[in-house]
């Protein structure tokens, strides 16, 4: 039975984990996302669905526990915020190298270093350009509502298992902490070990007599076969373009385009409506997947708008991808706040007007 509830983004994510048939969650406290592990501990899913919930000794341990569980074909997830996500990068690179599905939530906060506990979007590069070592990418979803914090969980798992690659939900402190109405999807049961073995024949569930042993590894000392392996990952990321998702608001007749994701996109909804009232034909394109990125669509829109404004709660990271997409056809401006400071719609509109 789907339910409608008033929940924090972090709690909606946690509830969605239970409902998505997740097998294990490994967490660690860090503001602004500690509610995830708190909520899961309060719900005790280990007594209902049998889901493992464990608070670990570090984010490093947590991501490696994900690796272990994922290597046996289980649905595993972890969450943290910026500094904690940095700690997980080696583990994430291992997950990608060993071709393991796993879900990682980043409720981003201002950096660098300890930074602040206020929200920010300054982890875009880390999330979309492979934050760890080696040639790999993550499938990255950027929720801009509590509803998406819940709905993106099963979606991320599906894509992660379809491509055998880790997936990230890149949220931030705003989306994680704010409360909103959310319609919670019908629970999906956890898979049995037999189902897992059928769906994931590569999983290390114990060597059956009828098969060779399964080995989960990202190691290959022979450069030629390692290169072949990395090229296989490349093909995977090309195929993953099929998972591209974005949303467009008032772009049909737009003369000016804003590109913004996550919480910035929410703020820019308001910018578009205020601008429209003032007779300014402004449209918004919201990338929902940050990888794959909507290069083609932005390039098309660049043919019919005078300029593009990118707004991010950072010094400007996604703006580089937008510039790549636009190929110099029109000017691409950037307006950002960072360090946890957040812009208002009016503030953005004022900036936009200086570029008319």
């Amino acid at each position: 039975m789907s339910e409608v509830k008033l929940m924090k983004g972090n709690e909606a994510f946690a509830e969605a984990l239970i409902r998505a048939g997740t097998d294990a969650y490994f967490g660690y406290p860090i503001t602004p996302q500690s509610e995830v592990v708190e909520y899961l501990m309060s719900q005790k899913p280990y007594e209902t669905t049998g889901m493992v919930v464990l608070q670990c000794e570090s984010e490093v341990a947590a991501i490696n526990m994900c690796y272990g569980g994922a290597g046996a074909g289980f649905k595993v997830a972890t969450s943290s915020s910026s500094p904690g996500i940095s700690l997980k990068q080696e583990g994430i690179s291992y997950l990608a190298g060993a071709e393991l599905p796993a879900l990682i939530l980043n409720v981003a906060r201002g950096g660098p270093g300890l930074g602040t506990i206020q929200p920010a979007q300054s982890d875009y590069f880390q999330a979309t350009k492979g934050g760890g070592h080696g040639d790999y990418r993550l499938f990255v979803l950027a929720p801009s509502s509590v509803q998406e914090m819940a709905d993106f969980v099963p979606l991320a798992f599906d894509v992660a298992f379809k491509y055998r690659n880790p997936a990230m939900i890149l949220s931030d402190g705003i989306i994680g902490q704010m409360m909103e109405k959310v319609t919670l999807f019908e629970p999906i049961p956890r898979r049995s070990l037999e189902q897992i073995e059928k769906e994931c024949p590569w999983a290390t569930t114990g060597k059956k007599p009828n098969r060779e042993r399964n080995i989960i590894t990202s190691l290959d000392l022979d450069p030629i076969s390692q290169e072949k392996h990395v090229m296989k990952l490349k093909e995977k990321y090309e195929k993953m373009q099929a998972e591209l998702r974005y949303e467009e608001i008032n772009t049909d007749d737009a003369e000016y385009l804003i590109v913004a994701y996550g919480s910035s996109a929410r703020i820019c909804h308001k910018v578009v409506s205020i601008a429209r009232k003032q007779g300014l034909k402004v449209g918004l394109l919201r990338p929902i997947t940050l990888f794959p990125f909507p290069y083609k669509r932005i390039n098309e829109l660049a043919n019919k708008v005078k300029h593009i404004l990118v707004t991010e709660l950072s010094l400007g990271q996604m703006v580089e991808d937008v510039k790549l997409a636009v190929e110099g056809k029109v000017p691409v401006y950037f307006y950002g706040r960072t360090g946890g400071a957040i812009y208002t719609p009016v503030e953005i509109l004022e900036y936009l007007k200086t570029k008319l």
Binding site: D23, A24, F26, V52, L54, C56, E57, S58, V60, A61, A62, N64, M65, C66, Y67, G68, G69, G71, A72, F74, V76, E90, G91, Y94, A98, L193, T204, T205, G206, K207, K208, P209, R213, N214, I215, I216, T217, S218, L219
Partner: protein, 261 residues
């Protein structure tokens, strides 16, 4: 007159290489204890007939290639994180036998936190810890377990405890944690010690079967290449020096010792 040739018949076979070791030649240096421990684990898995339910984890170090030689499902872990993988596996599949196979650098340097917390949670798996007091795979650097005055490539004038600290007795540490049910220190350089080590590994698998908690087996071993000695010299040096810092024997056994022999 019956000669030895007449005896070599299948019915007279009393010992052979376990088929649970793959056919691949072990890549360890001549005389290295890693090969022996690999063999003992697979012998126990064979004797308990649990190949279908055993999952091994090999981290980074000389042990990283374990999955080339052990014919069971295995995972390769990032350096120091094997016990984290094992935690997930043993919690998600409580009826499987999970073991990690780690060197001293992996378990007692970078992996210290994972080691201590897995033991402190009493995770139901086996830690097999090969302590040769050195980083073997990377060419012989000092490890936390390097003993005083021991020469390595990063303590070329001998380990100076004033600057580089003392040998880390991780096994004594984890023995203090209520989560560990069986903590023992063995070696594999003589037949007698090999028999004891095999017994310890068998005990550990039995304790895991009964979900008694974390089993921790340290095997003090040699590193002929890293120590710059022949295997026999290394074994002799080990007896005279390593065993002083790492005395063999059980540090902890389950209280109600009712494991069927």
């Amino acid at each position: 007159m019956i000669t030895y040739k007449d005896i070599i018949k299948p019915e007279n076979l009393v010992y052979r290489r376990t088929p649970l070791l793959t056919q691949k030649t072990l890549s360890f240096c001549p005389g290295c204890g890693h090969g022996t421990v690999h063999r003992l684990i697979m012998e126990v898995v064979e004797e308990m007939n649990i190949q279908q339910d055993t999952i091994g984890i090999a981290p980074v170090g000389c042990s990283v290639l374990a999955y080339e030689f052990m014919d069971i499902d295995m995972q390769q872990a990032a350096h120091g994180r094997a016990t984290a993988l094992a935690t997930a596996l043993s919690r998600l599949m409580p009826n499987k036998y999970v073991f990690t196979y780690q060197g001293d650098g992996d378990l007692a340097a970078i992996g210290t936190a994972e080691t201590i917390h897995a033991c402190n949670r009493g995770e139901n798996f086996i830690i097999i810890f090969i302590n040769n007091g050195i980083y073997g795979m990377t060419g012989g650097q000092m490890a936390p377990t390097t003993i005083p005055d021991m020469i390595t490539t990063t303590s070329p004038y001998g380990r100076d405890t004033k600057i580089m600290g003392n040998p880390l007795k991780i096994t004594e540490l984890v023995a203090q944690l209520p989560g560990t049910c069986y903590v023992t220190r063995q070696s594999v350089h003589t037949p007698n010690n090999v028999r004891k080590t095999k017994k310890a590994i068998r005990n550990a698998f039995e304790y895991i079967k009964q979900k008694k908690g974390t089993c921790f087996i340290e095997v003090v071993s040699n590193c002929p290449s890293g120590w710059r000695m022949t295997p026999l010299q290394a074994n002799k040096w080990m007896e005279e020096n390593m065993f002083k810092h790492y005395p063999l024997g059980d540090l902890k056994v389950p209280s109600n010792e009712n494991v069927k022999q």
